[in-house]
Every structure is written in structure tokens, then in C-alpha cells.
């Protein structure tokens, strides 16, 4: 079950990665840093909430709100940096997000210091239940359910709303969408913010179960990377299946043969890239 919990968080972050890649064709190396940012902001929000005497049972509300709110940093990043490089070679886009990784890492260290931060005893505030003989914190179940709801929500957003249709149109054929009157600046700012907010929310939600550390971002990015490769770049279904695969395999490997942990996942990534480079659910949007 801890694997599924991890998978839910991974799904949120990789869904953010996917929506950005799908529309903007930018592979955002900084998505892990957004995740770390969300985690730290989440810790601060919960601490402030506890200090203000809020009932412990509702700590998840400020936590999630803080995670979503800090996602607005995506607007700043998109308008302030990324919009200058859309016409450039993707190498430059990749390097710009790498620059973001470096900047955010220190920005986090400067703001919150270097020692790990945690939310204290909030994790078990909802108690535990026994599932198949293993004790599972109820909080994990809440996060799993929330991420399922978000998955369904994103699916509905993409297929049932006007905004979703515009996103899919732009992902398929940018020039045509633009010719039909879609304002790309408007779209890019929103899509990037959506992607960022998914990452920061993932970071905020993971934090009661672990501690916020400055390296958590660059470590998560390689896992999120594995997820999108396995699932297929730009595909939401792919992010879902990929996250489940990576999350569960990781926890199985940790409990059986720890040396293999990430090695196994990278080997699967390579196998997928070699055998089926578009991933399990890669679509035309990923071609060329």
C-alpha cells in the first residue's frame, strides 16, 4: 500500500510534467523542484495552522490550499523565463529548466534552511486501518483517493470542457489552433501553471508522511522521468499507469531486494525506450 501512496504522489507530479510537455513541448526538469517547493510551503502552512490553534483533524485543508496556491509561481516562471525560448531549439528549453532547478534549490535552502522539516505528528491524526494484515495510515488512503479524484478531474477537464478541447487542439497542432484564434500566450501561461500546481500539490500532500529535504526535488525528477517514459510522453493515461508501475515496483523492490530498487526501474525505462519509444500510451502528440 505504501507503493500505491507513493504512486499517487508520483502521478500528480508526472501529470504536471505531461500536461506541460503535451502542449508546450517542454520537458520540465524543474518539476521536481516545484514538488520540493510545495512540500516546504505545505510544512509552513501546517505549522502556522497548528500554531493558530486550528483543529488537527482539518490540517489537510491548509496543506492542500498552500500546495495549490504556491503553484501560482508557475505564472512567474512562464512569463518571466520560458516564454523567451519557445522558438528555440529544445536543448535551450531543457537547459533553462535545468537553470530553474539550480535556482529553486538554493531559494528553498535560503528560505527554509538546510535541516529536514516535518509536520510532526499530523501523519497519524486520522489513525490507521488494517488492510491485508498491514497497518495503513488513513492519511495515505485520503491522498490515494484525492489523487484518483484529480485523475478523473483532469480527464473530465481534457475531454469535456472548452479549455480541455483547446489544450488537446494545441497539443495536436499548434499552428492550426493558433490560426483558429487560440491565444497561445494565454494558453501557455495557464497550462504551465496547471502543471506547476499539480507538482506543488503533490509535494504538499507527501509531506505529512515524510520530511521536507532540499534534495527531494532532484531525486523525484528521475522517478517522474521514469513514469513519463514508461507511460509515454504527453499522455495522461500513461502518467497514471506509469506512476502505478514505478510506485509499486519500487516498494516491492525495497522490501525484497533493496539493491535493485531504482536499478530495476531504470532498466524498465530503457527497455521501454528501446522497444517502444513512445511509451505504453504515447500518442501522435509525442512524434518528432
Amino acid at each position: 500500500m505504501s507503493g500505491v501512496f507513493h504512486a499517487s504522489i508520483l502521478f500528480l507530479v508526472s501529470a504536471g510534467l505531461q500536461v506541460v510537455f503535451g502542449v508546450q513541448k517542454i520537458f520540465n526538469l524543474a518539476c521536481g523542484s516545484f514538488y520540493a517547493l510545495g512540500a516546504y510551503v505545505g510544512v509552513s502552512a501546517v505549522q502556522a495552522y497548528a500554531a493558530a490553534g486550528g483543529p488537527a483533524g482539518f490540517f489537510i485543508v491548509p496543506l492542500a490550499l498552500a500546495g495549490l496556491a504556491i503553484g501560482l509561481v508557475g505564472v512567474v516562471v512562464e512569463r518571466g523565463l520560458l516564454r523567451f525560448v519557445y522558438e528555440r531549439d529544445e536543448t535551450f528549453q531543457l537547459l533553462l529548466t535545468f537553470a530553474l532547478v539550480l535556482m529553486l534549490e538554493d531559494a528553498i535552502r535560503l528560505t527554509w534552511g538546510t535541516s529536514p522539516l516535518s509536520t510532526g505528528g499530523m501523519y497519524l491524526v486520522y489513525g490507521q486501518v488494517r488492510i491485508l494484515g498491514a497497518a495503513v495510515p488513513v492519511y495515505n488512503l485520503i491522498v490515494i483517493a484525492a489523487s484518483l479524484v484529480i485523475a478523473v478531474g483532469i480527464g473530465a477537464l481534457l475531454t469535456r470542457t472548452a479549455f480541455g478541447r483547446i489544450i488537446r487542439a494545441a497539443a495536436d497542432n499548434r499552428e492550426m489552433a493558433e490560426a483558429l484564434g487560440v491565444d497561445m500566450r494565454w494558453l501557455y501561461a495557464r497550462v504551465f501553471t496547471l502543471g506547476t500546481a499539480l507538482g506543488t500539490l503533490g509535494g504538499a500532500l507527501v509531506i505529512p508522511a515524510t520530511a521536507a529535504m532540499s534534495e527531494m526535488g532532484i531525486e523525484l525528477i528521475v522517478e517522474a522521468f521514469a513514469v513519463v517514459v514508461i507511460g509515454g510522453l504527453g499522455s495522461m493515461r500513461g502518467a497514471f499507469v506509469g506512476a502505478l508501475t514505478v510506485g509499486v515496483l519500487r516498494s516491492v523492490a525495497i522490501s525484497t531486494y533493496p539493491e535493485l530498487e531504482m536499478l530495476l526501474i531504470y532498466l524498465i525505462v530503457i527497455a521501454v525506450l528501446v522497444l517502444r519509444p513512445r511509451g505504453l500510451f504515447g500518442t501522435a502528440a509525442t512524434a518528432t
Binding site: E87, D89, L94, L95, A99, L100, M103
Partner: protein, 319 residues
């Protein structure tokens, strides 16, 4: 002509560094020369063939661990033997990796190289019985041209014999690479970069040439890794981490990938910039570093060499 004068001056300057500069700066030149070798190779792939690898730290790792194992576990101390062994091992590892990677271009190539880099990283991190895990493996002082040089203090060894040895390796590597990129082979690579479809119709086997370029760059990176590890004295897995690969691309871009000497300029600038920022702003040097990288990407994609030349905006939308 101007270029030759600058090159001669730079060469003379580098030769004179151990005689005039403080020890500290001489020591900073050692990673510059090692990275110089790595980046000369990386740029054959990046600047000349148009493939951006986010996994070349893998080969630095192969080279550095080869040196560490040979000196500390097999009693081989000769740096010549280490360099040859690193190059051979690097090529052996690269052969299948390159064969798989060059089937893809652009972002997929970058991702596949990143994945291979992380496989190697995870491998050396987890199999600590062999590799020492995150504590690393000691890299004992190698002998140079058969001279043991055990008697002299480590600093004297590094700023004297080892410095000039690295310089010779870098000069040889640069000379060979110069011939490579100015040969018909180098021209073919550029054609592949600019227009792979046309290259194919002209009879160039695009896949095979990309593989050659990858192999050469991997051999350079491995040899550079062997040079890089010796002054540190200990080799640990962070050498192969993906952010290290990212830094390699950063260095190349900083100097200018469109120019032959750009990567060397980039390595030099990167190392001194990193050193200066670390002492000026120990708690937020990465922030400044990232801002500089972002500024280069946005305003000066030609890097330092591009700024010097003030030529046409190189690298803009090459796709």
C-alpha cells in the same frame, strides 16, 4: 590569424601558470583540463552532430572508477595504463549504449542517455561491496611515465608533474579532435546535424556516423574522468549523477557549442565562476549560477565565444 595569436597566448599562459600563479589557482586548473578533455568529446556530439546527452557523467564515472580500481585494488599505478584502460572500458560500455541511443534524436536521445547514466549511478551506489557505495573508492596517486614520484608532497606533485601531464593530454586530445572535426568525417557529422534527411540521400549512413560520434565522445569523457579523479583522490557516485551531466552541457553552452574552443572556454569559466561564487555567496551560489545559465540561454545562446564574435545569433532555431 587573430585566432592563432590568441591560441598561442592562451597556450603560453597555461604553460606559465604553475610558475607564476598561487598554488590554489594551479590546483583549480586541474579540473579545468580534465573537463576540457571531456567537453571536447561531448561537443563532437552536441555542437557538431546535434545530439544533446544528459548522461555523459556516466563515462566520467567509468573513467574515474577505472583509475580508482586500478590504483587501489589491482596495484596498477601507471597513468598511461589507466588512461588507455579508461578509454577502452568507456568504449566497451558505450558501444551498446550508443547503439541504442543513436536510434533517437532530440528529447528522446537526451532521456535515454539520462536513463543510462542513472543506471550506472544506481549501480555504483548500491553495490557498495565492490564500489564502496557513497563513500567511494580511493584513487591512489598514479605514476607518470614510469616515475613513481612518491617522495614529493601531494601538492607539489599536483602543481608540477601532474599539471603538465594533464596539459599534454589535453593538447593531444584537442589536436586529435581538431583533425576529426575538420576531416570529411567531421563534415558529414555537421551535415547530419543540419539536415539528416539530406545526409542520408547523399549516402551518409546517419545512424552509423552518429554512433561513431557517440563512441569518440565516450572515449574522451572516460579519459577525462580518469584525469579528473586522480587529484581528488577519491571517486564517489555523485560523479555520475544526472546533475553532473547537466553541468557538462551547461559548461559547453557557457563557452559556446558552435565553436571548437568554446567548450574549453566554458570549462574554464565554469570552474572559476563556481569557485568565486562559492566563496562570495556560500549559501546561494547555485541561485546565481542558475540565473547566469538562464541569462545565457535567453540572451546569449552562442555562449562566451558567441559574445566575443558578435556573429549572427548562432544556434537560434536550428531545428
Amino acid at each position: 590569424m587573430m585566432g592563432r595569436v590568441v591560441l598561442a597566448l592562451a597556450g603560453a599562459g597555461v604553460l606559465a601558470v604553475p610558475l607564476v600563479a598561487p598554488t590554489y589557482h594551479v590546483l583549480l586548473m586541474l579540473p579545468f583540463m580534465a573537463y576540457g578533455v571531456v567537453l571536447l568529446g561531448l561537443n563532437l556530439l552536441f555542437g557538431y552532430t546535434g545530439l544533446v546527452s544528459f548522461g555523459h557523467a556516466l563515462f566520467i564515472g567509468v573513467g574515474a572508477y577505472t583509475g580508482a580500481f586500478l590504483t587501489s585494488k589491482f596495484g596498477v599505478r601507471s597513468l598511461e595504463a589507466i588512461l588507455v584502460a579508461s578509454a577502452v572500458l568507456g568504449a566497451l560500455v558505450a558501444a551498446p549504449v550508443a547503439a541504442l541511443c543513436v536510434r533517437y534524436v532530440k528529447i528522446y536521445f537526451g532521456m535515454l542517455t539520462l536513463a543510462f547514466g542513472m543506471v550506472f549511478y544506481t549501480f555504483v551506489l548500491k553495490f557498495y561491496r565492490v564500489t564502496g557505495g557513497d563513500e567511494g573508492t580511493p584513487y591512489l596517486r598514479p605514476s607518470l611515465l614510469g616515475f613513481g614520484l612518491e617522495g614529493i608532497p601531494k601538492t607539489d606533485y599536483l602543481i608540477g608533474p601532474y599539471y603538465y601531464y594533464s596539459l599534454v593530454v589535453l593538447a593531444l586530445a584537442a589536436a586529435v579532435m581538431w583533425r576529426v572535426v575538420h576531416s570529411p568525417f567531421g563534415l558529414c557529422l555537421k551535415t547530419i546535424r543540419d539536415n539528416p534527411a539530406k545526409a542520408e540521400t547523399l549516402g551518409i549512413s546517419v545512424g552509423r556516423y552518429r554512433w561513431y560520434a557517440f563512441m569518440i565522445s565516450a572515449v574522451y569523457a572516460s579519459a577525462g574522468g580518469a584525469l579528473l579523479g586522480a587529484p581528488i583522490g577519491n571517486v564517489d557516485p555523485t560523479l555520475a549523477y544526472w546533475t553532473h551531466s547537466g553541468n557538462l552541457v551547461f559548461m559547453t553552452l557557457l563557452g559556446g557549442f558552435a565553436s571548437f574552443f568554446g567548450p574549453l572556454v566554458g570549462a574554464f569559466a565554469f570552474i572559476y565562476l563556481e569557485d568565486a561564487l562559492k566563496s562570495l555567496a556560500p549559501s546561494f551560489w547555485r541561485l546565481i549560477f542558475g540565473a547566469i545559465l538562464a541569462a545565457i540561454v535567453i540572451f546569449a545562446p552562442g555562449g562566451l565565444m558567441g559574445l566575443v564574435r558578435r556573429a549572427r545569433p548562432l544556434g537560434v532555431s536550428r531545428a
